[in-house]
């Protein structure tokens, strides 16, 4: 590793740690019971719902698409699927806002700004499926066809073929994608701000609101929530990687042979 790249990595690493240090500094002496109000509680519930549903659906569809591309070798689908990735989230939010809020074809079936947050979820799925697809397609490209062929020879059902010959290799990219998506969706602003409702609001929207209105008296609530959420995701990442570490290592070794 060259010296300059070492410094750059250190700098990049230092930024989030400084951020967390700042959050800890600002929340010293914070009365945590302030977070126990209806708005934050409802926000946590709706955030978990939107994040988990959007992430799960994106993972399933993204994997399924990567699998079909791999099996049918349809490269045109692969290049087509990349397109949503080049649309910024704000633009995607506006696009879905226009589609679902004013007399356009879908109006009346599903609407923007309603409490089930279906359009928020839909926007995220549309944006994140290509991301999952790209994360997974790499694994499929390297996948040893021998496993699939063997599973077929053993006359396993299609589901069991997937389970023994593909799934073990997908754990790593899917876990990576899962945490990237959870971290991203759970504390974002633009999409839920434009397509969400006044109550309950997603964490990112409520935190921004409390941070910027009035006397800044509530700013500490936002800092505290940001801190807790960062730690929560951090612990989740560490925990899930530790739990799967042994298995992943075995598979990686197995692949290299």
């Amino acid at each position: 590793m060259s010296r300059s790249s070492l410094w750059i990595s250190l700098f990049v690493l230092a930024l989030p740690f400084t951020g967390v240090a700042f959050l800890i500094y600002e929340t010293v002496g914070f009365d945590w019971s302030e977070l126990n109000d209806a708005a934050w509680r409802a926000s946590l519930a709706v955030t978990l719902y939107v994040t988990l549903v959007a992430t799960a659906v994106s993972l399933v569809i993204g994997t399924w698409l990567a699998r079909s591309v791999y099996r049918r070798r349809s490269t045109w689908l692969a290049s087509l699927l990349r397109w949503p990735m080049f649309v910024p989230h704000v633009a995607a939010a506006y696009l879905f806002y226009v589609l679902f809020s004013g007399g356009f074809p879908f109006y009346g079936v599903v609407e923007a700004n309603e409490r089930h947050h279906l359009v928020v979820i839909l926007t995220y799925v549309w944006k994140e499926v290509p991301f999952v697809f790209l994360m997974v397609i790499g694994t499929y490209a390297q996948l040893n066809r021998g496993y699939v062929d063997m599973a077929k020879t053993l006359q396993l059902t299609p589901f069991e073929q997937f389970k023994v010959a593909e799934w073990p290799f997908l754990v790593k990219p899917l876990l990576d994608s899962f945490w990237v998506l959870v971290a991203f969706i759970s504390f974002a602003y633009e999409v839920p701000a434009l397509l969400g409702v006044t109550f309950p609001e997603l964490l990112g929207v409520l935190a921004y609101e409390r941070l910027t209105t009035g006397l800044f008296l509530n700013a500490f609530e936002s800092y505290a929530v940001a801190l807790v959420w960062t730690l929560f995701i951090f612990i989740g990442v560490i925990g899930s990687y530790t739990l799967t570490a042994k298995r992943r290592r075995r598979i990686e070794r197995g692949m290299r042979r």
Partner: protein, 389 residues
């Protein structure tokens, strides 16, 4: 941990104290201030989100200042809360030479700045044109006494606008408005109360119920229960509200709702003329209308306070106020008392009162009420969530 915090604070104070130098002095008279200000630049920090307002400053005010006083005006667009926060950091760090010379401010932000001692005092007697000010507008800022810490720049009132092609019999009181929403479900809404305008709308309803008596910020439960009965008939059955006035205006422009609202009784004229708002847009003044004044202030650490005084004086001149009120640029109401002006200036102002979407000025003045204090604004912000649920 507290130790660590103190240590960090001391360290940053030591570091920032090194930045502070001596504070710039204000000249004793306006003539001397004008002399001092020659060939200097005034940094004017103001919210920059409106094209008409920006053009008024850049195309009208700045050239006049250059010509009359040889003062350069540098408009810096920034959100008000943002630069008030910057100033309070300056204060904490004891920085005596700031970057802001003049700022546009009111309401919450003024209260914060005044409480934190961020503003220069005794402005009024140093500015000749301040003698022309409307004393009532100058006295308080959303319920907070101004105490010479800021100078009234403009004065507007809250009005509703409706589309006369859809609304045949417009309501005349807030109670009738309530009934109207029941008869026309989905055609009315107001911005969330974190928005300046949405909060003001709820204050009007509060005033309709309890008058000035509710000024202490203690809002009875019955009020919220009654407000909750509006919800089922609002846009989207009240399950969500526009995040900002801009979003409400969009809904109104698209014909989704039939009424919009806002401070500044002249704000709909240009929108209607441009075809953004429906052609049938008309003003609606109910039984009372909160008057809102916005102000100019000089920060404690302005490096060019004399230049700032010159700019304030120019902005308060009858000609500059007249150009501001004209729909060409801004359409903002004057902060001057028309009875204190020359007959010709007064006539020029009165002539501007003709617009299709303008309310009757006498009726508007008649219904004018002063704003509640910050306690009510905060209370509404805290408690309105019950209605939104």
């Amino acid at each position: 941990m507290r130790r660590l915090k103190q240590f960090g604070l001391i360290l940053s104070l030591i570091f920032l104290a090194a930045c502070g130098t001596t504070r710039a002095e204000i000249a004793p008279t306006f003539e001397q201030a004008a002399e001092e200000a020659k060939q200097s630049t005034v940094n004017f920090y103001m919210w920059g989100g409106d094209d008409g307002i920006n053009r008024y400053i850049d195309e009208y005010v700045a050239p006049r200042l250059k010509e009359t006083y040889d003062v350069e005006l540098n408009r810096v667009p920034m959100d008000t809360a943002e630069f008030v926060r910057q100033l309070s950091l300056d204060k904490r760090a004891n920085r005596e030479e700031g970057t802001i010379d003049l700022m546009w401010i009111n309401g919450d932000n003024f209260r914060n700045a005044a409480e934190a001692d961020l503003l220069q005092g005794d402005l009024l007697d140093k500015i000749p044109n301040a003698a022309l000010l409307n004393e009532e507008a100058q006295a308080t800022d959303a319920g907070t006494p101004t105490n010479g810490l800021e100078v009234a720049w403009g004065n507007v009132q809250f009005v509703l606008h409706y589309d006369a092609d859809n609304v045949k019999n417009p309501p005349t009181t807030f109670d009738e408005l309530h009934r109207w929403t029941e008869e026309n479900p989905g055609r009315f809404t107001y911005p969330e109360v974190t928005d300046f305008t949405g909060n003001a709308f709820v204050r009007h309803l509060l005033y309709a119920e309890y008058g000035a008596a509710a000024g202490d910020g203690e809002i009875p439960d019955e009020f919220w229960e009654k407000l909750a009965t509006w919800s089922p008939h609002l846009w989207k059955q009240g399950s969500t509200y526009p995040k900002s006035l801009a979003q409400l205006d969009q809904l109104y422009a698209a014909g989704d709702v039939w009424m919009t609202m806002g401070f500044n009784e002249r704000r709909a004229e240009a929108e209607r003329n441009d075809g953004v708002f429906p052609n049938g847009t008309r003003a609606l003044v109910l039984e009372h209308s909160i008057a809102s004044t916005h102000f100019l202030a000089v920060p404690f650490n302005a490096t060019n306070p004399n230049g700032a005084l010159v700019v304030i004086n120019e902005l308060l001149s009858p000609e500059a106020q007249l150009a501001k009120q004209d729909a060409t640029y801004w359409g903002d109401g004057t902060s001057l008392d028309l009875t204190k002006l020359d007959a010709s200036d007064r006539d020029a102002f009165l002539k501007l009162d003709e617009g299709v979407t303008y309310p009757d000025p006498e009726r508007l003045a008649d219904r004018s009420i002063p704003d509640y204090g910050p306690a009510v604004i905060d209370a509404i912000r805290e408690e309105w969530e019950r209605v939104a649920q």
